[in-house]
């Protein structure tokens, strides 16, 4: 070039960087609640239908103090835990069998795919006829709702364990049993735990639905009753409690993942 004029190179790679601002979500929450509270105090929201956050907190506090809510929480937890454990054990077992044995896969995959789309709550009336109105019908509904997504996630988790690791284990002479426990089970763990996130939220939905259909105890029954009595503050308090329950379960799962999947 005849004219060696220097053009400075300008930076053009700004933005599109993944990252988070830790304070941002807290601020957003605080803002939403502040707006809600102010709207209530200014009378923009009819307090009969939409009480202020402070009133909801008062209701929640009162309910916790008089211990009534603990009975409902206890009843719901018992149903969730037993239904989820039953559904998960059965689901993981069948998912593993389908991942490992060709015959189980050939039979299981079409059957599971056909039954998966049934909204399990629709079966509650049937279970009530079979098992009565008590606990077993609710637990069975939850277990069934948990079972199907668990089968699918366990199966695909097993299916996604790298073939080369299995071949390696075979090449060192490990038996099928040892391969299942030393290679497939740990290798499928991330997928199984991811499936637990889905199945626990399904269990939460189903317990509420089942309790709204036929129960005297449980958070679902409590929320429904509060609605019937126009006790909106108590109703919202129940909903808040449900979301806290969901958050707790999710946090527990995160801790489990941190411990079990430290190698990732």
């Amino acid at each position: 070039m005849s004219d060696p004029a220097k053009t400075p190179v300008s930076f053009r790679g700004a933005g599109f960087v993944p990252g988070t601002r830790r304070w941002a979500p807290w601020l957003a929450f605080a803002l939403i609640i502040a707006c809600w509270e102010s709207a209530s105090r200014l009378g923009w929201l009819p307090s009969l239908f939409m009480p202020a956050p402070s009133e909801v907190m008062n209701a929640l506090h009162a309910l916790l103090v008089d211990g009534k809510l603990l009975v409902h929480i206890g009843a719901s937890l018992k149903r969730i835990v037993s239904g989820w454990i039953l559904g998960s054990i059965a689901g993981v077992t069948l998912g593993f069998l389908m991942g490992i044995f060709v015959l189980a896969r050939s039979v299981g995959l079409p059957v599971v795919s056909a039954l998966f789309p049934i909204p399990k709550i629709a079966l509650l009336p049937l279970f009530i006829l079979w098992f009565g109105i008590g606990e077993p019908s609710k637990v069975a509904t939850i277990a069934l709702g948990v079972f199907f997504p668990t089968v699918v996630s366990a199966f695909s988790a097993v299916d996604n364990v790298p073939r080369n690791l299995i071949r390696m284990a075979q090449s060192f002479g490990l038996s099928t049993r040892m391969i299942v426990f030393k290679v497939i089970l740990p290798g499928a763990m991330p997928g199984i735990l991811a499936g637990f996130r889905i199945s626990t939220s399904i269990a939460l939905i189903l317990v509420v639905a089942a309790e709204m259909i036929g129960a005297d105890t449980g958070i679902g029954a409590f929320v429904l009753a509060a609605g019937n009595l126009m006790q909106i503050d108590q109703l919202i308090a129940g909903v808040v409690l449900l979301s806290l329950l969901g958050l707790t379960v999710s946090a527990l799962l995160s801790v489990t993942e941190k411990i079990v999947l430290r190698w990732r």
């Binding site: 690791l165 071949r167 284990a169 075979q170 060192f172 490990l174 740990p186 290798g187 190698w263 990732r264």
Partner: protein
């Protein structure tokens, strides 16, 4: 232990990949298997190691296994095949745990192969914390921990960068000098073959047939000496001329997956 292949053939469905392959890997010998990509090298190695079911011909081992051998035919894989949830020592242990060794013997074997592969300081590290070269050292340590009679190495250095590959070749030469394990070494890299092998088996493009078997007339530990470099370069060029046309055709073929 020797490996004898007679008239080995193989097809995936109606895609023939090996045809009439016969050769012998002698006791303590390192045979390199080279050929254009897709010519059936991995298939052949998996047949020898019993990971694929034989279809035609005969594959046999002859001779005695070394003392303390737990797994006569032992693989080293291109992608390392390490369990990501096990530490370096744990990955080596995987190959030993199911044998009735006793705790002390198992620990001793692990310590000794980690030492041999320069991994002692990394015994508790997870695979994700290691470089590619160190990961393959774990793969090699795991293989020699079982005192194999035959090592089957499928492009063990192909996933590594050129410098790391050089380092690992030196390590392998040192290990072989100690252990003298019969080795079948698959590679598409002619330099690796000329540097490491006693004998080079050249396969044609798919279906792989034997094109030539060439022995490398210089002892492995003297290949870096200046007086041999000319001869080895000549061998390298000769091998390349054997493969070049095949590789060109193979390169232009549609892939079968």
């Amino acid at each position: 232990m020797q490996v004898v292949l007679e008239d080995v053939g193989y097809a995936y469905g109606d895609l023939p990949v090996l045809d009439g392959v016969s050769f012998t890997v002698g006791e303590g010998e390192t045979a390199a298997l080279i050929g254009p990509s897709g010519c059936g090298k991995s298939t052949l190695l998996n047949l020898v190691g019993g990971l694929l079911e034989q279809q035609g011909g005969r594959i046999a081992t002859m001779g005695t296994v070394p003392a303390g051998c737990l797994n006569p035919l032992t693989f080293v894989f291109q992608d390392f095949a390490l369990l990501p949830w096990r530490s370096v020592a744990g990955n080596v242990a995987l190959a030993l745990e199911h044998h009735p060794l006793g705790r002390a013997e198992q620990e001793a074997r692990i310590a000794s192969v980690l030492q041999l592969c320069g991994l002692t300081d990394f015994a508790d590290a997870l695979p994700k914390q290691l470089s590619g070269g160190m990961r393959q050292r774990v793969g090699i340590a795991r293989a020699i921990a079982v005192k194999p009679a035959v090592m089957l190495m499928d492009e063990p250095l192909s996933a590594l960068d050129a410098q790391t590959r050089e380092l690992l070749m030196e390590d392998l030469i040192a290990i072989w000098a100690r252990e003298r394990t019969t080795t079948l070494y698959v590679t598409h890299n002619l330099s690796e073959a000329v540097r490491l092998a006693d004998k080079v088996v050249v396969l044609s493009r798919r279906p792989g047939r034997i094109k030539r078997i060439v022995s490398v007339p210089v002892p492995v530990n003297e290949r870096q000496k200046p007086e041999h470099i000319g001869l080895l370069q000549q061998l390298h060029d000769e091998l390349w001329s054997l493969i070049k046309a095949e590789a060109q055709v193979a390169d232009r073929e549609m892939q079968h997956v």
